[in-house]
Symmetry: C2
Subunit: 196 residues, 2 copies
């Protein structure tokens, strides 16, 4: 059945209103997640920050997993460095973008929160998408000089140079540690290609 034009128009208004509410609530949930941690992402707290009623939130997003999932989706695409073609400079720049994301987007708290909630299938899919998106460019760059297990190892290692101090000690690596890490990985690639 084709709905009457008047109905369709009011449906569109309704859809736009729900979409706006969703965007507001998602932004508020992300703010609570990164500022206060995933424990704080409750219907009451997110409703307060978003300035909607708790009833509205419960109606559309009945579980806390829904709120956390929306928060993480609200992060959007992971930021990446625009490649120049100079491998060493590009890898260093990409790690600095990731380091900045840990400060600006509090990616450390997002990762920790996602790890906590990963027993939920919906959450696990969101987590895998965010993290795959985050490592995609590093795979493309290091794929020029590594393959197979060495490529997986190199990507985990360079991710770890930023992620490990951040998650384990709440600190971020200095420029010289990032450069040293990239040199260890790329020198090794060079040594391997000389051997071959």
């Amino acid at each position: 059945m084709t709905p009457a034009p008047a109905n369709r128009a009011s449906g569109n208004v309704e859809d736009a209103r729900v979409a706006r509410t969703r965007a507001d609530v998602a932004r508020a949930a992300l703010e609570v997640l990164t500022e206060e941690g995933s424990e704080a992402v409750t219907h009451a707290r997110v409703a307060e920050i978003a300035r909607y009623s708790k009833t509205t939130l419960y109606t559309h997003w009945p579980s806390r997993i829904d709120l956390i999932t929306m928060a993480i989706e609200a992060l959007g695409e992971m930021p990446h460095h625009q490649r120049t073609g100079e491998l060493r400079a590009d890898v260093i720049a990409e790690l600095k973008v990731f380091r900045k994301g840990n400060l600006d987007l509090r990616l450390d708290r997002v990762v920790a929160s996602m790890a906590q909630w990963a027993s939920d299938e919906q959450m696990r899919q969101v987590r895998d998408k965010v993290n795959t998106d985050g490592q995609h460019q590093m795979y493309a760059m290091l794929g020029e000089v590594f393959s197979g297990a060495a490529l997986d190892a190199a990507v985990s290692m360079l991710t770890g140079v930023v992620a490990c101090p951040s998650l384990m000690f709440g600190t971020l690596p200095d420029d010289d540690i990032i450069a040293a890490a990239v040199d260890i990985v790329l020198n090794s690639a060079q040594a391997r290609s000389v051997e071959m």
Copy 2:
């Protein structure tokens, strides 16, 4: 004032009883943390698992941070590989012990939980102690061939080979990825020493 002997004896009995309660509650809190995540570490849930009353728990450990801190202290010393002196084999074995810890002790969930709670000073101290303890042997081994920023980078990178897949995707690296990572780091150390 010296307490009468009778009092001292009953004090010792009291101390022993509190110590036993503390050990029971800490073990229960660790079980809840690793099986159900830090959100589940509530007085009600830990009391249920430990088979003590909620009132007992609230009396001795009034905040949830106390319960989480005890859980993490209950982990005890981080497991390490017994060194043989053969650097490559020792580093690989140490990473495999860390990988096993992620399975047996759910260190990934412990790390994620500690990162979430790190805005609390007491929690931050526990976190730094556990993580420093975890990386100590890796620093000693890699300190034979690296120093300064390169040493920090190498330790973060090799920690990351196990920690990153675990925290980001809930998976652990295969033996060949661990070996590839160790070879990338040690080949690079060798290339540097040849240059010098």
